[in-house]
Amino acid sequence: MKVELTVNGESRLTEVEPRKSLLDCLRDNFNLNGAHAGCEHGVCGACTVLVDGQPVRSCLMFAVQADGYAITTIEGLTPAPGELSVIQDAFCETHGMQCGYCTPAMVLTAHALLQRNAAPTREEIVESISGNICRCTGYGQIVEAIALAADRLSRANAPQGGAVR
């Protein structure tokens, strides 16, 4: 059946089987491979994308359920080829990744957090990524990345003349 999704700001019309997951639709139909299949039953979080700004496990959502919604994938957070967003750059800087398989989902989750809470505490950061399993890092450098990004974003958004924090 036909679905119309707004993917990374662009309206996309595509044909899917009713049972097709949003994850498979993004990967197969749109070649957006940044969302990864990890456990395929909604626990590991590697398939996280943003649906109307909220983190959602795309392996548990049918593509047809996303009809009419705005989907943001990791490709949509990347400003331009060769460029990185403040959050993405912070993950690189603090080495907030190892194998990288969970990383796009972590970045998207962090993006959603910082959209609703510009100055999260360490506990709030830890809580926000508690639905995303990382098997490599032990989370420390990821938490550090999100804290660094929050700090940089708040400085960038501060009124002329100084940092907020």
Binding site: H41, C92, Q98, V126, S130, I133, G138
Partner: protein
């Protein structure tokens, strides 16, 4: 040729970003499942045994073959070559002919036009089984003497006499569980038939050469007809060392039969049922010691649950025996290792490779000795540490020449003030009735090198192009651990060029042959040295060209920050590369390295298996709820010896990640097989991987400063992948400490790992009853 100027960006000892960092955060780093299928490609699915032990009476593929989109099905008889993928010992079939030996064992595979079609058709395969009684417990396997490999023994002194004469003696048994790797990217391979008998295999593997060999055996073709390639894995942890061969092998047999590219990607539940894990161990011991805790005799039995076939079990067991001493001199000992055959999936390599289980054994025994003597584990350890220049020979005959455990422990204490921390815990427990806290430390000594000397070699291939850009290839594989960037840093340092000029390419058996697995923490030690060797060979040729050009002796040529200097004259590295080509000098070289000094005698389990040891220490604080058995790690402080770290940021990631993974093994990650031998925890909803809230809220990992490797490793660095996993034994010991507090630290907990809430609660009740029975206040 010392460096007079500033350091080259991206050289050694710098926290350079992971080479794939930008790709990882933008989703553009490609994993195998991200490669678009070429037209005509097939997707595959497996048929798994629902029985732990059964005879296969008949397999009917009719319905499956008639299902929509199905192109082929394979059984054991469709394997054109030898049905054997054993990594160490022979006769480990890819697909079974007449018997299944574990729940989840693949018996058939289907290839179809789409993944959904393949998975649907797999469900239509009818297998007629005659179920047989499975052997599931280690006790039963030992009693039946049912082993996948011969028992191993390590002895010294007269243990029987020592056990008879000492002042104190303890004996008993305890267990530790296994662990699923849970690499976030599941097992996957794509096999593409080429011209004639060629087969190209993309595999998410830590061991491309083993894939090459396995596929060649299965297809009955020479090694040179198979190419295996891997750019990156989404995690490995040992789970993609031998286990990837099954996946690649099935994809290759299907591709051979259909003459079309075949992709096999396991769904998570199948992955967890069908592939091996860390070995559960049963430990039996008898130990004797004096009033101060000095160990005289230790009779130790380690029984590993090998599962249905040997796979890596014999080697895992050897490493377990080689780490049952940890940091301690044991004058009289008998270590026995049993590789038990049971009807569960064959267990395999997992970060630490038996080392964690060996240290689990000795450290738990030391804690029991401490409770028996009403002293601290630290005091018992202090009595038993290897000496410097005396009492310094391991049970396998290797002299511990680089012992820095005292320094590592001092560093830990300086950071945290253990005595004061201990007082706070005891004070807390005095006023808290339900929540009890525990504190424990953990010293680690871990041997670096594969036990089997032949595996300690590596190759590399380096090309310099005439614009000065460099392509780097070596036999190691990237699974997130940062091997590629570390080796690139080594090459950048050697040539004195910016790391951005070096392109790191996918590992392939076509570029560097006969490689060792990326395992045993040895990736950068081996491949870094091989790449350095290649770079130095090219650099020597380029130096000669520069010397001739500037008309000065070669010894006066200096490579520095992208330029090549001859006194006050210079040219860029790129100009020298172009000039070298002009002068018809080769700008390509292979590099090679073999670890010196090592030897091992498998017959006597003795020798010098390890080039060096790496050391670490940790302290962990936990809290347990004595009403529910739940536990939390509140704080962890780590010090890890990395030699002169090649990349401190990468190494810190390894240390923290290993610690949390080790915590998972010892606390939440429970593999549960039911009475029929069916794994019931085969997804992350039932098998609990540590999440962000499980990591210690206060968590400080430090690299031991100013500690260059005594041995001549690559720029005096040390291996880091596995050793810090064992620092997590501090968490295990801290939980035991919290339970022991209920007996005023006089009794040791009766507890097996993982310390799940159920087990902790049982241990709490048990120790209270015992303490009350012995007349102690609680």
């Amino acid at each position: 040729m010392s460096a007079p100027l500033a350091r080259v960006p991206g050289g050694i000892h710098a926290s350079v970003r992971h080479d794939s960092a930008a790709g990882h955060v933008s989703g553009s780093a490609l994993y195998l499942d991200d490669i678009p299928n070429v037209p005509g490609s097939l997707e595959a699915a497996l048929v798994l045994s629902p029985h732990a032990h059964a005879r296969i009476k008949a397999i009917d593929l009719t319905a499956a073959l008639a299902a929509p989109g199905v192109v082929a099905a394979i059984l054991a008889k469709d394997i054109p070559g030898k049905n054997d993928i054993g990594p160490i010992r022979p006769d480990e079939p890819l697909l079974p002919t007449d018997m299944v030996e574990y729940d989840g064992q693949p018996v058939a595979a289907i290839a179809a036009g789409t993944l959904d079609q393949a998975r649907a058709a797999a469900k239509l395969v009818r297998v007629d089984y005659e179920p047989l009684a499975p052997v599931l417990s280690l006790d039963e396997a030992i009693e039946r003497e049912q082993f996948v490999a011969p028992p191993q023994i390590m002895t010294r002194g007269d243990v029987d006499a020592a056990l008879k004469t000492a002042a104190h003696r303890l004996s008993g048994e305890f267990n530790c569980g296994g662990q699923d790797h849970f690499y976030l990217e599941g097992q996957i391979a794509i096999a593409t038939p080429g011209e004639g008998r060629e087969m190209h295999v993309f595999s998410s593997t830590q061991h491309p050469t083993e894939i090459q060999h396995g596929v060649a055996h299965l297809l009955g073709i020479p090694f040179n007809a198979v190419t295996c390639e891997v750019r990156r894995m989404g995690g490995g942890f040992g789970g993609k060392e031998s286990q990837a061969t099954m996946i690649a092998g099935i994809a290759a047999v299907l591709a051979w039969k259909t003459r079309r590219p075949v992709k096999l990607r396991l769904p998570r539940d199948d992955d967890m049922r069908a592939t091996g894990k860390r070995h559960p161990f049963l430990i039996r011991y008898e130990v004797s010691f004096d009033d101060g805790g000095l160990i005289d005799g230790l009779d130790l039995m380690l029984a590993a649950n090998g599962g249905n076939v040997a796979d890596h079990t014999p080697a895992v067991l050897t490493r377990a025996l080689c780490h049952s001493d940890n940091c301690y001199w044991l004058p009289n000992l008998r270590f026995r290792g049993y590789a038990c055959k049971t009807n569960i999936v064959s267990n395999t390599a997992f970060r630490g490779y038996g080392g964690p289980q060996g240290m689990f054994a000795i450290e738990t025994i030391i804690e029991m000795i401490a409770r028996h003597l009403s002293t601290s584990p630290e005091a018992v350890r202090e009595r038993n540490f290897y000496g410097i220049g005396r009492n310094d020979v391991t049970p396998y005959g290797m002299k511990v020449e680089d012992n820095i455990i005292a320094r590592v422990l001092e560093e830990l204490d300086r950071n945290v003030d253990l005595a004061r921390w201990r007082e706070e815990i005891v004070a807390f427990n005095r006023q808290s009735t339900i929540i009890k806290k525990g504190l424990a430390t953990m010293p680690v000594k871990f041997g670096i090198s594969f036990n089997r000397p032949a595996l300690n070699q590596a190759g590399a291939l380096v090309h310099v192009y005439t614009d000065g850009s460099v392509t780097l290839n070596h036999g190691g594989t990237e699974m997130g651990q940062g091997l590629f960037i570390k080796v690139a840093q080594v090459v950048a340092e050697a040539f004195q060029i910016d790391i951005d000029n070096i392109r790191i390419t996918a590992t392939t058996t076509a570029k560097v042959p006969n490689t060792s697995p990326t395992a045993a923490s040895s990736g950068s030690d081996l491949n870094g040295m091989a790449a350095l060797n290649a770079a130095e060979r090219i650099k020597a040729r380029m130096t000669d060209v520069a010397a001739e050009q500037f008309n000065i002796p070669a010894g006066e040529i200096v490579f520095q920050q992208n330029r090549v200097y001859a006194g006050n004259r210079s040219m860029s590295f790129a100009e020298l590369a172009a000039l070298s080509w002009e002068k018809r000098v080769s700008l390509s070289a292979t590099g090679y390295y073999r670890t010196p000094k090592i030897h091992w005698d498998f017959a006597t389990n003795s020798g010098r298996p390890f080039y060096y040891f790496t050391y670490g220490a940790a302290a962990a604080e936990v809290a347990i709820d004595t009403l529910t058995g739940e536990s939390r790690v509140l704080r962890a402080e780590l010090v890890q010896d990395c030699g002169q770290s090649l990349n401190p940021a990468i190494d810190l990631g390894q240390i923290e990640g290993a610690f949390v993974q080790g915590m998972g093994w010892l606390t939440t990650e429970e593999l549960f097989w039911d009475e029929k031998g069916r794994l019931r925890t085969h997804g992350p909803s039932t098998y609990k991987i540590p999440g962000s809230r499980d990591a210690p809220p206060v968590f400080n990992a430090r690299i031991l400063p100013d500690a260059p490797n005594r041995e001549e490793t690559v720029f005096r660095s040390k291996a880091v992948g596995e050793p810090p996993l064992m620092l997590a034994l501090s968490v295990w010991l801290a939980i035991r400490d919290a339970i022991s507090s209920l007996s005023d630290y006089r009794l040791a907990a009766k507890l097996d790992a993982p310390a799940t809430p159920e087990r902790v609660l049982e241990a709490v009740d048990e120790i209270r009853a015992r303490a009350a029975g012995s007349g102690s206040a609680i």
